[in-house]
């Protein structure tokens, strides 16, 4: 039953570009991008319990790494891999430095990283174009074909993220991260190398975000520091994960989908006050559904049995 549901969902996603218009394709691409961001944050925030605000830093870093590589003539797909790899390496170093902080202190340390990177990008005008932004090579494809191409590529990145998340959760790594979340000192005592585990989780939370950032740069063809280092790239994934249910695979996905629908509806209907209304909805959901949408007894509606 459950497997059937996922296969059905995958088929719908695969066929959508052939029935929907470009607006829908664009929306669905953003939806999958959100899934990647939410699932990525879930590695460090949901599984490990470290409230990271570094997602924006990884996204921006990946975007600039990809954009600069493409500007040097590197093929687009390879540029995405470079963005992902650079974000992961950066996260490993950063993690070793700031993952020894806990709770609010870790949150603050991770929050400033995006700002620091933005200032660096702003001031290295020769390489990054600074505040003027950076243009990327335009693909020699029609508008419709481009929309479909980026849609399927994003789908691929999202699938990769989903499979990685599902894999990690079944392995000792996921189990150990759960131990660290609940009691890090006790986790150390039973033989978990918490430093290594947390650093791996942090890198996992960066690698797909970096790839998605590079993808984003190719997709929109023009990036500037304020756009890709936007703090909203750090906050939205957290809201999505809390909305859907932290520490699971389906929670962040459901959260990302629901969040995008809310965002789009609110944007259309409250043009002058959309951020405020969205904020109110989020506050409401967190008050009344603190463990996320997954906590609803949805299994009964679909006749799924709890494993």
């Amino acid at each position: 039953m459950k497997r059937g549901f996922w296969i059905l969902a995958a088929i719908i996603v695969l066929l959508l570009p052939w029935v929907g218009n470009n607006y829908f394709i664009r929306l669905a691409t953003i939806m999958m991008l959100y899934c990647v961001l939410a699932l990525s944050w879930n590695f460090i925030g949901g599984l490990t319990g470290y409230p990271s605000f570094a997602t924006a830093a990884f996204f921006g870093l990946g975007a600039y790494a990809g954009a600069i590589s493409q500007g040097q003539g590197v093929p687009m797909y390879l540029a995405w891999v470079i963005g992902a790899a650079l974000a992961a390496i950066f996260a490993t170093g950063l993690g070793l430095a700031i993952l020894r902080l806990r709770g609010h202190y870790f949150a603050i340390a991770s929050l400033v990283v995006a700002d620091v990177l933005r200032e660096i990008v702003n001031s290295t005008t020769n390489l990054t174009g600074g505040g003027m932004g950076l243009n990327l090579p335009v693909l020699k494809l029609g508008v419709d074909a481009q929309a479909k191409l980026f849609y399927y590529c994003m789908f691929g990145i999202a699938l990769l993220t989903i499979f990685t998340a599902a894999y990690v959760m079944r392995r000792p790594l996921g189990f150990g991260l759960g131990c660290i979340k609940q009691n890090e000192d006790a986790a150390n005592i039973i033989g978990i190398n918490a430093t290594i585990f947390k650093t791996i989780a942090f890198s996992l939370s960066a690698v797909f975000v970096g790839g998605a950032g590079a993808f984003y740069a190719s997709w929109v063809n023009y990036i500037e520091p304020g756009d890709v280092f936007d703090i909203l790239f750090a906050i939205k994934p957290i809201v999505m994960v809390l909305l859907g249910g932290a520490g699971t695979v389906s929670g962040p996905i459901i959260g990302a989908i629901v969040f995008l629908i809310l965002e789009e509806l609110v944007w259309r209907n409250f043009l002058t006050f959309h951020a405020g209304v969205l904020g109110l909805i989020v506050v409401f959901l967190i008050f009344y559904l603190p463990d996320g949408i997954l906590d609803l007894n949805y299994r009964r509606w679909f006749g799924w049995r709890k494993n």
Binding site: R170, C179, N183, D185, A186, I189, I190, I192, N193
Partner: protein, 249 residues
Amino acid sequence: MNPILQLESVTRKFGGLTALDEVSFQINPGEIVGLIGPNGAGKTTLVNLVTAVYGVTRGRIFFDGQRIDGLKSHEISRKGIARTFQIVQPFPKMTVCENVAAGALFAGGAKSVNEAKEQALEHLHFVGLADLASHSAAALTLANRKRLELAKSLAMKPKLLLLDEVNAGLTNVEINKALALIRSLAERGITILIIEHLMKVVLALCSRVVVLHHGQLIAEGAATDVVRNPRVIEAYLGAHFVNQRQKEN
């Protein structure tokens, strides 16, 4: 016989306070050694030093002939030292079985999560918690949480087990069960260092006792001798009491 655990002039200072002062003693394989002393004597600090929760200020600690001060907690647990905490430390949102499986997976040599869970069930049987395997760890009674701590430590397949007041807060009946359990651990060949306030337990279990007072080792020897040692009585009850007793005799 080579000692399994050896402390050489171990000192730990917290700012101006010397919590442990030049403490040296050793534990031989197969022994059950009691670690006693009044509140604040440094007993838990000593366990925390052996398991690298804190680092030593001075001195050396050897386990199985290898120097272990300076190693990290997780490295020490993988070498074969397990401990329980005075204030129990379960993973509250996991089941009882998963709690024990964590020990089996990361220090007990289990290859996969499933294998760890199978091993966990055996250990739960041993401590008498098998019926509660699928319950949440947060819902256990104190006595059962202490047993869970034991099962978790056992799952790590330790050579040396450090028990920090496993009997505190238990009823008499529960203590008797715990005593039987600790004895059966020793029969499995696990060396045990037990911090204990209840003399009944110390006298029943320990072949040897080490006494700490104000961070210093003040007596060491057979349990029945140590409880008659004037310095030990003084540490617990004050000099006044010792003088009085000597007059009475």
